[in-house]
C-alpha cells in the first residue's frame, strides 16, 4: 500500500470524467513501466469485512491487505466465504437480494462503499473474472473484448485495433483468435472463452483484477495457460484469485490467505507469503488443509 502516494489517490478517485481517469491510469502505468520503479496496480485493503445473506452470517471479520502488484490467493474448503469475500471487494455482493455487509474496502485509501461513490466507476477499476466463462454470446470476439468500453461509455486513448491486440495478447489469446475476431464468441473452447473474459476485463484497464475460481471449469491445459496469463498480468496490476486448487495457489500467488468456516460464519485463519503458508503454516488448521488432511 505504501507504494502508492496520496497524490495519486486523490487524482484517481476524484476525476469525474471516465475518459480522463482512464487516460491518467494509462499514463500512470506508462510512467511506472520504467525499470526499477514500484509495482503497478493499486493496493486494496479490506477492513473488518462481514457479510450476510439474509439472516445467515456468511463471513466474519476479515481484514486483509493486498499490496499493489501482488497476486494473492484465497484458499479454503467450500462454504468458507472466500467467494463471498471477493465479491465484497468490487461490490458485486450487493446484487444478491438480501445480501448485506459491514466493514470497509479501501481502494487507494478510499472506501468504495462510501455514500456517493459511483459504483460503476469502482467496478471499472476493480475488474472481475468469474468461475464460469461468460462471454456475451451475441457479440463477436472483438466486440466482447471492447464491450467494457461500450458498457461503461468510456473511450480508450488507444485505437480499437491496438486495444484489441494488446488485451488479447496480454490474456494469451491473440495468436489463436487474431484471424477470427469477427466470429461469435460462442465458438471458442471453454479455456479460450475464459481468456477472452480476461481480455475483456483488461480492456477497461483495471487496477485490480479479481478472479473467482477462474480455472475450475477448465481442463488442465487451459488452466496452465491462464496461470501463465496471471503471471504476466501481475506485472501490471494487483490480482486476487480464489481457488480450490492448492497447487494453483502455490504456483501463481505471492501471498496466500486461508479461509475456514467451523459451522459458523467463515473467517480468515491465516495469511502470509505463499511459500510460508505451504511449508510452515502457523495455524494447525491451515496445515491440515494444505497438507490435504481435509477439505
Amino acid at each position: 500500500m505504501s507504494n502508492v502516494s496520496d497524490d495519486n489517490n486523490g487524482e484517481d478517485m476524484s476525476t469525474t470524467s471516465a475518459t480522463n481517469s482512464l487516460s491518467s491510469v494509462a499514463a500512470q502505468h506508462a510512467a511506472q513501466r520504467q525499470p526499477g520503479t514500484a509495482p503497478l496496480g493499486s493496493g486494496l485493503e479490506a477492513r473488518e469485512i462481514h457479510a450476510w445473506f439474509g439472516k445467515h452470517h456468511a463471513l466474519a471479520d476479515v481484514s486483509l491487505d493486498f499490496a499493489a502488484g501482488t497476486v494473492t490467493a484465497l484458499i479454503g474448503p467450500s462454504g468458507c466465504g472466500k467467494s463471498t469475500f471477493i465479491r465484497t471487494l468490487n461490490r458485486m455482493h450487493e446484487f444478491i437480494p438480501s445480501a448485506a455487509m459491514a466493514g470497509e474496502v479501501l481502494l487507494d485509501g478510499k472506501d468504495i462503499y462510501q455514500p456517493g461513490v459511483d459504483v460503476t466507476k469502482i467496478r471499472l477499476q476493480i475488474g472481475m473474472v468469474f468461475q464460469k466463462p461468460n462471454p456475451f454470446p451475441s457479440m463477436t470476439i472483438g466486440q466482447n473484448v471492447l464491450s467494457g468500453l461500450k458498457l461503461a461509455q468510456i473511450k480508450s486513448p488507444k485505437s480499437n485495433d491496438d486495444l484489441l491486440e494488446e488485451c488479447l495478447t496480454r490474456a494469451g489469446l491473440w495468436s489463436e483468435v487474431k484471424d477470427r475476431l469477427g466470429a461469435h464468441a460462442g465458438g471458442l473452447s471453454g479455456g479460450q472463452q475464459q481468456r477472452l473474459c480476461i481480455a475483456r476485463s483488461l480492456a477497461v484497464n483495471p487496477k485490480v483484477l479479481l478472479m473467482d475460481e477462474p480455472c475450475s471449469a477448465l481442463d488442465p491445459g487451459s488452466t496452465l495457460r491462464i496461470e501463465d496469463t496471471i503471471g504476466q498480468l501481475a506485472k501490471t496490476m494487483t490480482i486476487i484469485i480464489v481457488t480450490h486448487n492448492m497447487q494453483q495457489a502455490a504456483r501463481v500467488s505471492d501471498y496466500t490467505a486461508f479461509f475456514l468456516s467451523d459451522g459458523g460464519p467463515g473467517s480468515m485463519i491465516e495469511v502470509g507469503p505463499t511459500n510460508e503458508i505451504f511449508s510452515r503454516p502457523k495455524d494447525e488448521r491451515t496445515e491440515n488443509y494444505v497438507s490435504g488432511r481435509f477439505g
Binding site: F136, P137, S201
Partner: protein, 326 residues
C-alpha cells in the same frame, strides 16, 4: 508371445437399439398423443369446415374474392360481388398499429417489472397486467368508444399536424373518429398483457452470469440491459408479439365497437374508416342471405389462413434474424 498385426475385422452391423415400454407407459403415451393430436384435429376441422362452406364464394368470385374491394349482395338475381381486399388490408393495418404501439410499451413495462420495480409494486403490477389479459374484449371496446376515442381524436390531430407529410398520416377531410388508428390503440391495450408477460418471462431467464459480467465491467443498469437482456430476450419478445398479433388479427368485438367499417382501401390510419375481417363478419352475419353467409365463412377462412401465414412468416423472420443471444 508375439505380436502380429490385427487381422482386418469386418465392420459389424449396426445394432437395433430397442426399449420395451411398460404397459402403463404405453397407455400414458397414448393418452398424451390423443390429447395433443386433438388440437391439431380441431384446427384442421375448422379449416375444412370454413373452406367447404365458403367454397361457393371462392368459386363464383374467383381471385376477386381477395383482390376486389366491393361487397354487395345481389338483389333479385343480380350477381353478387364479394371482394375482401379492403378488409384484408384494413386488418393488417390495424394489427400493425396495435403492434407498433403495444410492443414497445409492453417491453418497457416488462423491463421495469423485471429490473426496476420494487418487489411490492412489482407483485401488484404483475397481478394487474395479468388481470388485463382476462378482461372481456367488449369492455375494452366500450371503453375505447366512450373514453379513449375523444382523447385519441386529439392525439390523431396532433400526429396529423406534425407528421401529416408522411402519407399514412394524411387526412383528406377532417374525420378523426372511428379510424384504424383508434382501433389499433384499443388493440394495443389488449395485447399489452400477453406481450408483457411473455417478455417478462424471458427477461427473467437472462443468465445471471452474463448480467454479472456486464456489471463487473462497470455497466450501468441500462447499459447492461442493452448489452445482455435485450439480445437474449429478442426472440422471446418477438414470440410474445406474435401471440399479440394473433389476438389483434382476430379481434372482433372491440374493433367492431370503435371502427367505422367501410369497403374501401384506406392506408391513412388516422382517417375515419377502415376494415377488419373479423368484425366485418360479425357486422354482416345477422342479416346475411344464404349466399352472403357462405361468403362470410369464406372470409373467415381467409382470416384463418392469414393468421397461419403471418405466424409462419414471423417464425421464419425470428429464425433468420435472431440467431445469437442464447
Amino acid at each position: 508371445m508375439t505380436f502380429t498385426a490385427n487381422p482386418p475385422k469386418a465392420i459389424p452391423e449396426k445394432r437395433q437399439i430397442t426399449t420395451k415400454p411398460r404397459v402403463s407407459d404405453k397407455i400414458f403415451r397414448g393418452v398424451l398423443t390423443v390429447m395433443s393430436m386433438s388440437s391439431l384435429l380441431i384446427l384442421t376441422l375448422i379449416g375444412l369446415f370454413l373452406s367447404l362452406r365458403g367454397f361457393q364464394a371462392f368459386q363464383t368470385q374467383g381471385i376477386g374474392f381477395i383482390t376486389k374491394v366491393d361487397w354487395t349482395a345481389g338483389v333479385d338475381g343480380s350477381p353478387d360481388t364479394f371482394g375482401l381486399g379492403a378488409m384484408i388490408i384494413g386488418t393488417l393495418i390495424i394489427s400493425a398499429t396495435a403492434l407498433f404501439v403495444g410492443v414497445p410499451l409492453s417491453v418497457l413495462t416488462a423491463l421495469f417489472l423485471t429490473f426496476y420495480a420494487p418487489e411490492r409494486l412489482k407483485r401488484a403490477l404483475v397481478t394487474l397486467v395479468d388481470l388485463m389479459a382476462s378482461f372481456p374484449s367488449i369492455l375494452f371496446g366500450l371503453w375505447g368508444f366512450i373514453v379513449l376515442m375523444p382523447m385519441a381524436e386529439y392525439w390523431a390531430q396532433l400526429i396529423h399536424k406534425y407528421l401529416g407529410w408522411i402519407p399514412i398520416f394524411g387526412m383528406p377531410s377532417p374525420a378523426y373518429t372511428r379510424s384504424p388508428f383508434i382501433a389499433g390503440l384499443v388493440l394495443a391495450i389488449m395485447i399489452i398483457p400477453i406481450v408483457t408477460s411473455v417478455s417478462r418471462e424471458i427477461f427473467n431467464q437472462t443468465p445471471l452470469d452474463r448480467i454479472q459480467a456486464a456489471y463487473a465491467l462497470g455497466a450501468t443498469r441500462w447499459a447492461m440491459i442493452k448489452a445482455v437482456v435485450l439480445p437474449f430476450g429478442a426472440s422471446g419478445v418477438v414470440g410474445g408479439a406474435m401471440l399479440g398479433l394473433g389476438r389483434a388479427l382476430g379481434e372482433t368485438v372491440a374493433v367492431y365497437s370503435v371502427l367505422n367499417i367501410v369497403f374501401k382501401v384506406n392506408f391513412q390510419v388516422l382517417y375515419g374508416f377502415g376494415g377488419n375481417i373479423a368484425s366485418m363478419i360479425v357486422g354482416k352475419w345477422g342479416e346475411a342471405s344464404l349466399t352472403e353467409s357462405k361468403a362470410l365463412l369464406a372470409a373467415g377462412f381467409v382470416l384463418f389462413v392469414m393468421t397461419l401465414v403471418v405466424n409462419l412468416l414471423a417464425n421464419f423472420i425470428v429464425r433468420r434474424t435472431v440467431k445469437t443471444g442464447k
